[in-house]
Symmetry: C3
């Protein structure tokens, strides 16, 4: 989808070089229908990018809110700095790997340092708008990992892997599916990135959490799991609202064109899936544990959002509700399974929300896609198994790529500089040990938390 749009853009932009704003005292050229359309698309793409940027704040609040007070400043720092180093890494390398001239459909090899950006031509100006939109996506993939590895990861290691995820691991997947690579050639549909962004983050989180090991005190000798309590539910909730808000940039914005009126449909499917995810997760946990847990309802909303991200432009509102609701049920059981059965300590449920529900959402396109929405029919609408089969290939291939590279990445970091802080530092909290500060100076906080 993005690819098609890009082609059309290039065509349009080459036709209308004269209409562009001429710098250097030449003043504005005349407005035309074409120049207006380009302006609408640029404005839309930029505003969507701003909203997606703001999701960084959402991720930071959710992660900090769901963990302990003694690590909150560290979490803020991670979420700020992964965006900072991610922006630079994606500018220098990642964008080229993702959208550069393709090498056998595997990765791009041109456009390093945003060399395609040119303020004097139409296509060159568009590259800037396109880059900022893609850059905020890249940073999202990196920041997802943060949650699963919270409260015990060395800050320097965190910085290091953020660079590699935004420069290499994420952009390669992006190339495959959005940059004209081999999965794109097969016709895989992942409109706004259930797989490209969320599963990439989720699977990297999975490997990271495994290599890192659980937080001290998380598991007892008999293998049973202890709940480590969230220190700030209003903060986490605010984060969820911010993420939902930002998702309206993430999904509808992925048209990168305001003249593409499917943005309206996408806003609706996105919203309904989130609503259904929250309700389903709440109901599931209510039945299971007797009370409607706030954290799980919030994770359900996020699960719905992640799941609908792949198919938001290809499914009906009703299908979006079903996709979201199923994601809301999945996330409850997945969190339980990863915590109790696999015994992987994922403090915020990032693996379940982004990895598992991202995979579910990607497969769901093969089931629920409907021609009037995005041109393709899934299994449930007479399209047979073909699209589903492509989606499965994509999910599996991306899992393998991320698992492998994340293993190499985290494994190397573990060997060279170490992934984890010392026991003493973990007990003291990363705020003091890694950053020499407290998050809530003056407040009386129980030392055991």
């Amino acid at each position: 989808m993005l690819k098609n749009m890009k082609k059309r853009w290039i065509a349009t932009l080459l036709l209308v070089p004269l209409i562009l704003f001429c710098f250097g005292g030449l003043g504005f050229a005349e407005d035309t229908v074409e120049s207006n359309a380009i302006a609408i698309n640029t404005v839309w793409t930029l505003i969507a990018a701003f909203l997606v940027f703001f999701m960084q704040a959402g991720f930071a609040m959710v992660e900090a809110g769901f963990t302990r007070a003694k690590n909150a400043a560290n979490i803020m720092m991670k979420n700020l700095m992964d965006f900072a180093v991610g922006s630079i890494a994606y500018w220098a390398v990642g964008f080229a790997v993702m959208f550069g001239t393709s090498v056998f459909g595997l990765f791009g090899r041109s456009g390093f340092f945003l060399s395609t950006g040119d303020p004097t031509t139409g296509e060159g100006l568009w590259q800037f708008a396109f880059w900022i939109f893609q850059a905020v996506f890249a940073a999202t993939a990196a920041t997802i990992v943060s949650g699963a590895m919270a409260e015990r990861t060395k800050f320097s290691s965190y910085l290091t892997y953020s660079v590699f995820i935004t420069a290499v691991i994420y952009p390669v997947v992006g190339h495959w599916i959005w940059g004209g690579g081999w999965l794109s050639a097969k016709g895989m549909i992942d409109f706004a990135g259930s797989t490209v962004v969320h599963s990439v983050g989720g699977w990297a989180a999975l490997i990271g959490a495994i290599l890192l090991g659980p937080r001290l005190g998380k598991y007892n000798k008999d293998g049973s799991s202890n709940a480590i309590r969230s220190h700030n539910i209003p903060l986490a909730s605010l984060g969820v609202f911010i993420l939902w808000f930002g998702w309206f940039g993430f999904n509808p914005g992925s048209t990168t064109a305001g003249t593409n009126l499917s943005i309206a449909v996408i806003a609706v499917t996105t919203n309904l899936a989130a609503a259904a995810g929250a309700i389903a997760a709440m109901a599931t946990v209510w039945v299971q544990f007797g009370k409607p847990d706030t954290s799980m309802a919030m994770n359900g909303a996020l699960a719905g959002l992640v799941a609908v991200t792949a198919g938001c432009a290809n499914v009906s509102p009703l299908s979006a509700i079903l996709i979201g609701a199923i994601a809301g049920i999945i996330v409850v059981f997945s969190v339980e399974f990863i915590d109790k059965v696999l015994r992987i300590d994922d403090p915020v449920g990032a693996i379940s929300v982004h990895g598992v529900c991202g995979a579910w959402g990607t497969l769901a396109v093969g089931l629920f896609a409907q021609e009037p929405y995005g041109g393709t029919n899934g299994l449930f609408f007479g399209g047979g198994f073909s699209q589903l089969f492509i989606q499965i290939q994509g999910v599996v291939a991306v899992f393998l790529w991320v698992a492998l590279t994340a293993l190499i990445l985290f494994g190397s970091i573990k060997r060279v500089i170490g992934l984890r802080v010392s026991k003493e530092d973990e007990l003291k909290g990363l705020d003091i040990s890694e950053h020499g500060m407290e998050s809530y100076a003056g407040f009386q906080i129980f030392t055991t938390e």
Copy 2:
């Protein structure tokens, strides 16, 4: 206003079916002046809807910040879930009741499950954009009630009444005034919903708070009132800033057209009324109690915003300042009156801010409307009493409808499942009793609060 716009939209959209984005490999059709105008309007309406969505976070933060720590997770849950169930209810029923084919000007009867949405036609695509904008409004009406009933309402009851407010009570009023109903036919002006949204929420809150009764410890045996303290002023303030921010979607967005340049005027009147409301409330409380109370200044800003919502497209900046300032004064006395004289316990002042100031703002259109702004003159600008008279009818009719239906709704819930938690649960706090969790685990919090 909205109605007229809708008509014009239908005309334009029927004329230009060819200009739409064609899915399924057909690529984009040519851009035209008309398609660009539609894109501008769609982009504008969507972004405004996103901003209004974000107001949910604002309401959550204000309500939680102004109440006690032991109920904060419950409040977050309520504000998340009323939006979730409200979205689904408005999709299934509410939208049809509000904008469907009118039955005697009383309610709509078509368009259930967003059946008017169609991704293959211009008008069908517009329905999606229009729906998301209306859905976030519906959720606002429901969420207003939450504040007045905070800290003692059963969560299951809360969910139940949220469904009915977004499916029936609110949409019927919306139909009367925005959906071509009888008040719309009379010429009532409520541009962005001082009455449709805010008074509906405020009056439902009034009935709910009466039926629910005050929080434990709120009133002494002699009838005097105790202040129950706010647990997080920065959180509440952030909420107010978010609401003010979101109101720029609420009011200017209500043109549902970016090509309607009155959006600029509306942004100005909205902002000035809020500013004047904050100043007036601060001054009033400063004179009255000797200190400029932060909470009251924040409520003053919200009062100004609520009041200008009806007339934001019909009054001058100076009139907006007067409307907002008067609302800022009203809110201080109204909060006092409801608390001390009526002895209704409204923890965040929702009845005063939304109900009373919503009514004031609606009447104010009949006083301050000026032809150059929105085509009508109010009493102070030579228009006589006619518009004011219509506005009064609207305010009274909506009050009666909401009071009656809310009484039936809350009364039935009270009988069937109960509105209120047990005394023990209220003392423990709803976070633990209703959701089995704490909001601020690890923090030392005085148990009496």
Copy 3:
């Protein structure tokens, strides 16, 4: 830049009076290429203004988060009310002083009470959009001062000087550089206001902090400085994210035209400078003190944003990275220097971030400007010293103007009503002494903080 744009606007708008929305039952006029372009620009400018408005929340959160719990409600109140009184003051006076008919290039003298706004003409409607965009900028300048004077300033004095800054001090500088005044005539480049907004705020903060004196307990008898701890790092971080988010309205929005596609470049330079600033500040403080301090990284991001604000439309992405990185280094040393050597107590580093880095960014345009971006070459790109020389003049002139007027303003306030609260009130905290409330009722907070 803004000036040129304004001229073009006037021309366009005079040519197309017929295309405008006609109120009062006349319905919409036909859409044209020109009316669409105007709609795009209006929508863009309004949305950018909304984002800049939201920066008020960011400033409030940063200031409160970096100071003590006992003053948080006061800080919220200041940030709410400076925007409120600033909006009214800028409406009544400031806008006229800034953009009115010029008196010898020194200040404007027409357009008081937004008298240029007219809902019935194209240019008149545009004035409303332009005003709201400018009003939120004016409030930013005022709110910057708040941080440096936190935790000890009398609230009534704060209100008073906010009025004068938004009505006179800021608008005069704005007139010089953006309103057709003498610095604009010389060709000074300050695209979005490193000097106009940030340095004005920063230098006023400098004078204010000097006249006010340090907080009790800040300096020991031997002149050594004590750290006064931040009470809420997550709150401050959220503020930084909000500011970064809002800056995407501040800088790209300063085209006040969505049809000016340089908005895309500006978004990129803005983002990269912020990222580089955060990284550079983190690295600097890490080397210097052995740990990557979260607060300083956040200040680094803000420093990068402030610095690139002047040149965001005139420099390449690589130059933006350099400008931001240098700002990130500067801010660390500047904070240290002001605190330890000058012994001026600036609780949040506002003087360094906004004053010093604002000056640096303004000068940097004279070094890094590149013709393809904004039409001018700086020293490093073959433009010689001329632009740099103009920039220096601007920086010096603004410093002198603000220092002088701020001295008169704060000096007068000090004499007439007093700038500072009593020692007892400062120890108790301004929340209780100035506003009669607590920020975190129920939480156990150490009384010494």
